[in-house]
């Protein structure tokens, strides 16, 4: 089956992975930089540096990766790999994401099991944990820029975001219910707004 073409954008020649090997090594490099979570690195490398995706495309793909079961960044790599080189691309991206980190994690488990309990190692883990929290938060803050083009309009987007933050971050409600309720209402609203722009003759891409 031929791979689906990347999103049409007539304005410029889009950056894209050169080959399956490029995909594998790119995702390997991403994964190896991703201490304490890979998403921040994926956003920075694929959107800001390599420019394979725009911020808006990244948010759209992230929404799909997040709603489907499985590790989110692994889902994201699978989707991006498939888009450029079909199933082989998906497998290459997946392998890149997992192969080297897996070797390192097992080596750490086998070799450093004894060191992990020292106060210094525990402290280092705590310090990295504090930074990892920052990476996740900052990635979310950066993605806010993608909402400017959202057909639901800025006030509705902010309201939905605030409700979600309170439900998950403060009230700690189960994710699945928040996704189903807030996500359901939001999707219906977006459906309605997209219909309106279409009726007005506006061609929202």
């Amino acid at each position: 089956m031929p791979p689906a073409s990347p999103p049409a954008d007539s304005s410029a020649v889009r950056a894209r992975p050169q080959s399956i090997a490029d995909l594998f090594w790119s995702f390997s490099m991403l994964a190896l930089q991703g201490f304490g979570g890979v998403l921040a690195v994926v956003q920075r490398e694929l959107v800001e540096k390599k420019k394979w995706l725009t911020l808006e495309e990244f948010v759209e793909d992230w929404a799909v990766a997040q709603i489907l079961p499985g590790p989110n960044v692994v889902n994201l790599s699978l989707m991006i790999g498939d888009r450029y080189f079909g199933m082989r691309g998906a497998l290459a991206a997946l392998a890149g994401m997992l192969a080297f980190p897996l070797l390192i994690a097992v080596a750490m488990a086998a070799l450093f099991a004894g060191v992990a309990d020292t106060p210094q190692a525990q402290g280092a883990l705590r310090g990295m944990g504090a930074v990892a929290a920052a990476l996740v938060t900052a990635t979310g803050l950066k993605l806010i820029g993608a909402l400017k083009k959202n057909p639901m309009g800025t006030p509705v987007c902010w309201a939905l975001a605030a409700i979600t933050f309170v439900a998950i971050g403060i009230l700690r409600l189960p994710l699945v219910w928040v996704l189903l309720s807030a996500g359901g209402v939001a999707s219906l609203w977006a459906y309605r707004q997209l219909g309106k722009t279409r009726a007005l003759g506006g061609d929202a891409r």
Binding site: P7, F35, G36, V38, R44, E48, V59, E60, A63, V64, Q66, I67, L68, P69, G70, P71, V73, V74, N75, M79, D82, R83, A90, L98, L102, A105, A109, A110, A116, P119, G123, A124, L125, R126, G127, M128, A130, V131, A133, A134, L135, V136, T137, A138, T139, G140, P151, V156, C157, A161, T164, F165, G169, A182, G183, A186, S187, W189, A190, Y191
Partner: protein, 200 residues
Amino acid sequence: MPLHLTLTAADWLGMFVHFMSLSLLAVGGAITTAPDMHRYLVGEQHWLTEDQFTSSISLAQAAPGPNVLFVALMGWNVGVNAAGGLSTGVMAGVYGLMGVLIAMVGIMLPSTTLTFAAARWGHQNRELRAVRAFKQGMAPIVIALLIATGWILASSQGTPLENWRPWLLTAVATVIVWRTKLHLLWLLGGGALLGWMGWV
């Protein structure tokens, strides 16, 4: 206290099936299934010690790569236990790697297959109003989810008043990542160093 287990082929198959069934429940990441893995591996089957369970999660967090690798480390530990502990050398390695393989294929296969099919369908039908509405509607929600996740991770450090140092570190690092292009590894290295020296 290491465990010494004898695992039959049926036991390995049981672990494989259990991980496969958790795979499709892992909405929001594999870490959301950790409580059930604990119930199964530590509580019910006694294949892992409490310490092995906890260190699998913290080691995978400390290692580079996706956090799902904690599942691989649990498989590794089950395998090592089944071999009779790390002191058995090559045996432990072989059994450990078998555990890694079974755990990882189990947790990944169903979810990746579903993601592959669903995402491909979604991409091929990306001009459909319903598909666009879903993605656009979900956008503010998944962005807020990320910020909430960061908040939850930071909150695990205790309250800002009592543990102001890790909170300060998180706050400063957030602004740096958000506003500058400083390489992320510098920040992680800096955090690790501050922690190593006992400041955090």
